[in-house]
Symmetry: C2
Subunit: 318 residues, 2 copies
């Protein structure tokens, strides 16, 4: 019998899952992905021009796993005028043995936020310098909160400097994250983050670089999660050139969008410079080899993360 799970139930379940278990699930997903064990057919798409709407169908499975997953995610940008969120969607989990519908997760896009934040923690686990002095978060929105929350599962550091677009946003961020045990300082200057933090996450919809190569110190790791189109960019292309290691969650996808796409287009890096996250986890590629290096990871999001977060939530429900 299928299980139907409302957003309310999903949120309740997520509260009761250890962040580190979610991080491990996503980490296993990246391993399988880079081992070629994940089948991900082309994304389905519908465009609704008049409503400035689009719907995407992403789906796939890990070979030999118990389940396959289909995710429907939409963005209808005129919804804001109606006071509605632009993002909707749900995830569906089916048995790989019988095809039966196992679970319908009415997550309205929330699990995509969670799996993205968990990927940031996977990256930090493998690429952050051995001692994180201070965490820098660029982007004080919801994803910026989740990133810090999940970093808490992979580092002892609880001190964070946060950049945002308004004082109100920053105050709200500080209030929310202080209550989760973090010591939050805020700034309106991203250079200050580069000066004082050695683990930095960017989580904005920016269309111009927020972090400059010249500001970044040795021994820093930076994860960029914001850019998901060919227009968005958070890191100066020179920063990837400067880095000792540049890591992608999916080298195939980094040809089309994100920081790596931007830096390649600007002629600052070439494909041979790239490592893939799953290959670093699998110890096929070195990642960071000492605490003096600068590393950059660019996350564009891959379907195996959806598969893994679905399974993690379903397992916690049982």
């Amino acid at each position: 019998m299928q299980r139907i799970v409302t957003l309310e139930e999903i949120l309740r379940v997520l509260e009761n899952i250890d962040r580190s278990d979610i991080v491990t699930a996503i980490e296993e997903g990246f391993k399988a992905f880079s081992n070629g064990e994940v089948v991900v057919p082309p994304v389905g798409e519908m465009i609704f021009k008049e409503q400035e709407g689009e719907a995407h169908i992403k789906y796939g499975f890990i070979k030999g796993d118990d389940y396959y997953v289909i995710k429907i995610a939409s963005g209808f940008y005129k919804n804001r005028e109606l006071g509605l969120s632009p993002n909707s969607g749900l995830m569906l989990m089916f048995s790989q043995k019988t095809g039966e519908t196992v679970c319908v997760l009415l997550d309205e896009g929330h699990l995509t936020n969670i799996r993205t934040a968990a990927a940031g923690a996977v990256v930090a686990k493998h690429l952050a310098p051995s001692r994180v002095e201070r965490i820098g978060i660029i982007g004080a929105g919801y994803q910026g909160r989740l990133q810090l929350e999940f970093l808490g599962a992979v580092t002892e550091c609880r001190e964070a400097l946060v950049w945002g677009v308004s004082d109100a946003e920053l105050k709200s961020y500080a209030d929310a994250m202080s209550s989760k045990g973090f010591e939050i300082t805020t700034t309106r200057h991203t250079a200050e983050i580069a000066e004082t933090c050695n683990l930095i996450v960017t989580a904005t919809p920016s269309e111009k670089p927020l972090l400059k190569a010249e500001d970044v110190r040795k021994g820093t790791h930076i994860t960029a999660v914001g850019s998901d189109t060919e227009y968005k960019i958070e890191l100066e292309p020179e920063l990837l050139e400067l880095a000792d290691g540049v890591v992608s969650d999916s080298i195939a996808q980094s040809q089309l969008r994100g920081e790596i796409y931007q830096s390649r287009k600007a002629g600052k890096i070439v494909d041979e410079d790239l490592m893939e996250l799953g290959r670093i986890i699998n110890k096929r590629e070195p990642g960071r080899t000492n605490d003096e290096q600068i590393t950059v990871a660019d996350l564009t999001g891959v379907a195996v993360q959806d598969i893994q977060i679905c399974k993690a939530v379903y397992k916690a429900l049982a």
Copy 2:
């Protein structure tokens, strides 16, 4: 708020919708389809070799309509060994205005059966001779029952001769359909159906022709719904050559599978011989022009039927 509808509820709702309302909904769908108003992106597919399983994602929308629909349908053929139905699946309905999930119909493939049967009735409405003497059903399975039930919405005739693969199957068919007001006679010879029926539906998974050209009388209409692969065939290819009109639900799909595909491959018909169901409904093509003609319709199933059956069930729920 999304509405979640179980198979049990769907069956209950279907009992309370007039068959003729469903037929009208499907008819409107074919009209929109042949008018070029339906957007149907390529079908998504996942194959699970070891389990002899496959999952398909079909989706689309009528331009300017209220909803878009995604259907997931799977066939896992080893399920029979486990005592499970090979077919699973569900349908999802979303707002074309906001992208919000409107309805999840956990139909397990049942609505596909219904929309297929309703298409048979649409065809009969437009192509059957003016007086139906006796209905012939070749294939006494579940689809064969539904076809007759829906034909009841478009013809006064309640007399049917039914062919099946065993006496047990035929007895069960007769019992079920007698209770729905039909007068059922059974046979093990398809030629007997051709001799005495002038509205014939074939609904079998046969891989060799069941109905011969030489047996079919003038003034007969035949609808073939069984063949959905390039191997299946119910009608002798010569029968389409003999026919005065050959009608497809989707001429594009008929290039790839079904009776028309088979007859073209055998060199018996050419594309210029074909009419499209929606164009006949729209009076752009003649269909049947007198009661002496033989007409053949081949239904391969199109996504607009899924869109329309979803909407019809949702409307009846409200």
